[in-house]
Amino acid sequence: MKRIMTLACIATMASAAFAETAPDDVAFTQYGELEQSLSGQPGDPEAGKAIMVARGKGNCIACHQVTALEEFPFHGNVGPSLDGIGSRRSAAELRGIIVNAKMTFEGTIMPAFYRVSDFTRPGDAFTGKAADGPLSPLLTAQEIEDVVAYLQTLQD
């Protein structure tokens, strides 16, 4: 009983100490990097892999070719190949690019996956109707961390 109490206590403290950063509170460096984990937790590369290929989630392979994901068909070529990206870019750079790639690449076509404001005619997901109420980011804080963790496994 005592042990359970202590554990619960630690868990509460931990989540308080590593509070999630809300999309509007994200603070980029001047190069568009984000040093801190958005969720306060490390990412899970396996979960990140699933998000990369899921159409309703990251769907990153819609625009990027990734040799390690060849089992999932149809990679687009609108963006550069992400092969070896983990050797070329730091976690802070990768996090910044996924959260809002426009902070790294001005005017890029790559969507911002953790942004909820300043859109023109935002819709209610893919219904074509106006959004009712505040938008949710395309990926959650933890999902972004998972994708960052997966990208770090892509080494030359």
Binding site: N59, A62, H75, P111, R121, P122, G123, G128
Partner: protein, 283 residues
């Protein structure tokens, strides 16, 4: 073709073969029924600042899909042309008239499709071909307007396109149409929705590239209405616009809205020089 020509030849094609479901022959020429020559690539009109060559969407489709459009017996869109020929001759409305009573044979409409959307002096508005047909129905025939992008209207649009096939698109962008054209241009370059994408991001910056399995065209409308294998029916221009804005996780405009009329005028003018090609076949 900017990106396509540069990376297309070596890297792009290797990648496409590895990842794309079907391979398009981007150098193919289109001859329908062995006699109607369709211009599927030509110099961009002078008003286009960022593109040198314009291409029909046909160029980007798979060899199989391309072939369906080369013969009217294979083109499922032509069935709807037959339906429209019947409608053309059917008397409707309080004036007891059919289209044929005033306009004669549908062939008399050759060349008309190529100039739409266009300014209508009496109505003092830019009219799409659908608006003009409904103008005739309500003002000349005393009949009810057809639903915009509905079946009857798309059939008639297919007929009007089919008799203009091979004739170059030649939409006027100056004079009284200019302000609508400017408005359409602004919409074309506006990034919509939570994905924050403009028409230009996909159809100007990335034609020839793949988004997942989709081979991006220039989003031209010279070939409308399109028979899509995906939904097995004719599809109207503005419904297509609607689908593309919806796919940006954006709030679309309504079919028949002022915004879409302006956008249709602008996009049509980006195809000035390509042939009228509808009803076409797309995936």
């Amino acid at each position: 073709m900017k990106k396509m020509l540069l990376t297309g030849s070596a890297v792009g094609i290797a990648l496409a073969m590895m990842t794309a479901p079907v391979f398009a022959d981007e150098d193919a020429d289109l001859l329908i029924n062995g006699e109607i020559e369709i211009t599927v690539r030509t110099d961009a009109p002078p008003h286009m600042e960022n593109v040198d060559t314009i291409y029909s969407g046909w160029v980007f489709r798979s060899t199989e899909t391309q072939a369906l459009e080369m013969d009217d017996f294979e083109n499922p869109g032509m069935i709807f042309v037959d339906d429209a020929i019947e409608a053309w001759e059917t008397v409707e409305g309080t004036e007891g008239k059919s289209c044929a009573d005033c306009h004669g044979d549908p062939d008399g409409m050759a060349g008309v499709r190529a100039t739409y959307p266009k300014w209508n002096e009496d109505a003092e508005e830019v009219r799409t071909i659908a608006m003009q047909v409904n103008g005739c129905r309500t003002e000349q025939m005393g009949a009810e307007a057809w639903k915009y992008d509905g079946g009857d209207m798309l059939n008639m649009e297919a007929l009007l396109a089919s008799v203009s096939r091979g004739i170059p698109v030649n939409v006027a962008i100056d004079g009284p149409a200019q302000s609508m054209w400017e408005k359409g241009k602004e919409i074309y370059y506006t990034r919509f929705g939570q994905l924050d994408l403009s028409c230009a991001n996909c159809h100007e910056d990335n034609y020839g590239n793949y988004i997942r399995a989709d081979h991006l065209s220039q989003g031209q409308i010279n070939a409308f209405p399109t028979y899509r294998l995906k939904n097995a029916q004719l599809n109207g221009v503005q419904s297509r616009f609607k689908g593309c804005i919806r796919d940006t996780r954006g709030e679309t405009f309504a079919v028949g809205s002022e915004e879409f009329i302006a956008l249709e005028l602008y996009v049509a003018s980006r195809g000035n020089g390509l042939s009228v090609e509808g009803p076409s076949v797309r995936n």
